[in-house]
Symmetry: C2
Subunit: 340 residues, 2 copies
DNA sequence: TTGAAAGCGTTACCAC
DNA sequence: GTGGTAACGCTTTCAA
């Protein structure tokens, strides 16, 4: 493996000069620069990550994390990932500051970002609200030289450098495909229980789902309701829905707080002849998949969503590595047999 | 983050002494040792990986890889992982030597291992034959101080330090669960097409499958045949099977070379009313999942199987990290909608 | 039993 | 524009 030292020797210059060229710091004579680049290419030079990281420790990097969902079990697994990567990065003198808030609220997120900037973060990972104020704030950070990666939910119009998370549309399509596979009635009348209409990922899943069934005369959506991630609301909605539409034989829970809905299904004695599909692997979905009430749950690698953004930011700040803009998580299907 | 230097200062000794204690090299006065350990614990000392790796480069590590399946598409993805981790490790002055052979053959594997030892490898990753000679060879290496990790298929009785691969039994159970979900006939008469009876993973999958359906009167295995991973054989077997057992309405392909079998299904006009489940995401399974002939394929993270063993061996040799003995891959379910 | 010093590859700073 | 040097944390070797 070629090193900077080697290149320097071959080019007849010092390591400092090679470093200036390779890291585009300028202030090098064009001829020298050309010579160095040529040699680097000929040797297929790739920087040594251990050396870079060791040297980067003196920068005392700080990474900020902003997420909603303090009381959302899905984020427990994300936090697990955050914890692990945080402990790894702490060995490199890089610390992580997490701001986590309970609800979907634009102002809280912006305040949290401002706090992090005051703390002196060098980069930001955020599970963002889909709100113009947040987009604007991310762009401000970009102007200040602070890169941002969105995770869990994307803001494609912002100046974020990358996204890590689910392809929600495809995820909804997968649910449609699963329902069709599982169906043995020949005619699926589907009730959809969303989370919040303002949350992009919930609506995107439903769009993907609709997209898939629109040419299939055997699958129809009878009703779409929104539980706002609240268990009591969910119970009431499903209870009403099943009473009003006796023909419903399949339910698609696109978001959290499903336990209430499942209770309604059981109370109406429909737990044996209803196809139910949900998302994510959280205590409630695990329980009902195991009991057989839910046949499958479609997941999005939450642990990975915690780890990857920070890993990418650290690499970006240290090695300057160019990274993929879109990093979709795998669409995982869990049934009773492989859920744990 | 505390460093060795810091501990040395606090203990009033040199860094070398601290290193000797921390890495159990011996030759340190018990009192000094106790003092150092105490301080390390109090500071929650964790070694800096970048420093370790940088220093380890002078060892010029060599990792050996032995695998069968040169002409098996499943291993293409494994090789992809090997290539990526190889390129990463090459930056750390660590090289990888791969010996890959076409067939299931004990002697070839042993010869390959011997070659690698002559090449001076420091550790071995092997997708092993389930043969006593291989076990013995692994134990020999262990005695020589060369650690081995098995992947794809395990040899639990050997002195290998870890295994990375599928839990085949659970994988077969998952297939049974999927079949039951997908079934809409109420009575599944199942034909099983295995690979080779001598290959543990194929038989294990079938065991798991049987295990799951044994209490289910709606699922019966009608026939089990072995295609020896050969396409022509597979065609013949399935063709015969479907002609002889008209009642068969589900097929479970537990191994490779399924294209011939699928052709037989189509030729007999059974591609619309047959439940078919296979393993792995290779060109043939992708094609038939997309066409709808195969409803689902159950996978085992082949890329990860290429990356993880070498990553673990490198970490083991450099940081001396204790590693998990059993590392099961995720059991991934792919259907038409999430297969690409 | 212990200390001192060199070396791994990179970056940053100061001097010229 | 360029060179020299110190620093990051760890391991290893040699000397005492």
């Amino acid at each position: 493996m070629p090193t900077i030292k080697e290149i320097a020797t071959l080019a007849g210059v010092s390591r400092g000069t090679v470093d200036r060229v390779l890291n585009k710091r300028g202030g090098v004579h064009p001829d020298t620069k050309a010579r160095i680049l040529e040699i680097a290419k000929a040797l297929d030079y790739r920087p040594n990550k251990a050396g870079i990281v060791l040297s980067a420790q003196r920068k005392n990097l700080k990474l900020g994390v902003v997420m909603f969902g303090t009381n959302n079990p899905f984020f427990d697994e994300v936090k697990h990932g955050l914890k692990d990567i945080g402990s790894e990065l702490s060995c490199y003198n890089c610390s992580i500051i997490i701001k986590s808030m309970p609800d979907f609220n634009e102002k809280n997120q912006i305040d949290a970002i401002d706090d992090l900037v005051k703390d002196g973060i060098n980069a930001l990972a955020i599970a963002p609200q889909n709100q113009p104020g947040v987009v604007q704030k991310i762009d401000e950070l970009a102007a200040m030289g602070i890169p941002t990666i969105t995770f869990n939910s994307d803001l494609p119009t912002s100046k974020r450098i990358a996204y890590v998370g689910s392809n929600y549309r495809k995820s909804g399509q997968t649910v449609a495909g699963l329902m069709r596979l599982i169906d043995h009635s020949g005619q699926l009348n589907i009730g959809v229980i969303g989370g919040a209409q303002s949350v992009l990922c919930h609506t995107e899943r439903i769009e993907g789902f609709k997209d898939k069934i629109k040419d299939d005369s055997h699958m129809n959506i009878i009703d779409v309701v929104w539980n706002n991630d609240d268990d009591v609301t969910c119970y009431k909605l499903v209870d009403d829905m099943l009473k009003e539409h006796k023909e419903i034989n399949a339910l698609y829970f696109t978001a959290g707080a499903i336990a209430g809905g499942c209770r309604a299904i059981i109370e109406q004695g429909r737990d044996k002849d209803m196809i139910v599909i949900a998302h994510d692997r959280v205590p409630s979905t695990i329980e009902f998949v195991k009991s057989g009430l839910i046949q499958a749950t479609v997941c999005q690698q939450p642990y990975f969503q915690g780890v990857k953004p920070l890993q990418m930011l650290f690499d970006y700040l240290t090695t300057g590595e160019v990274l993929n803009e879109i990093n979709y998580t795998d669409i995982e299907i869990y049934i009773k047999e492989n859920i744990d």
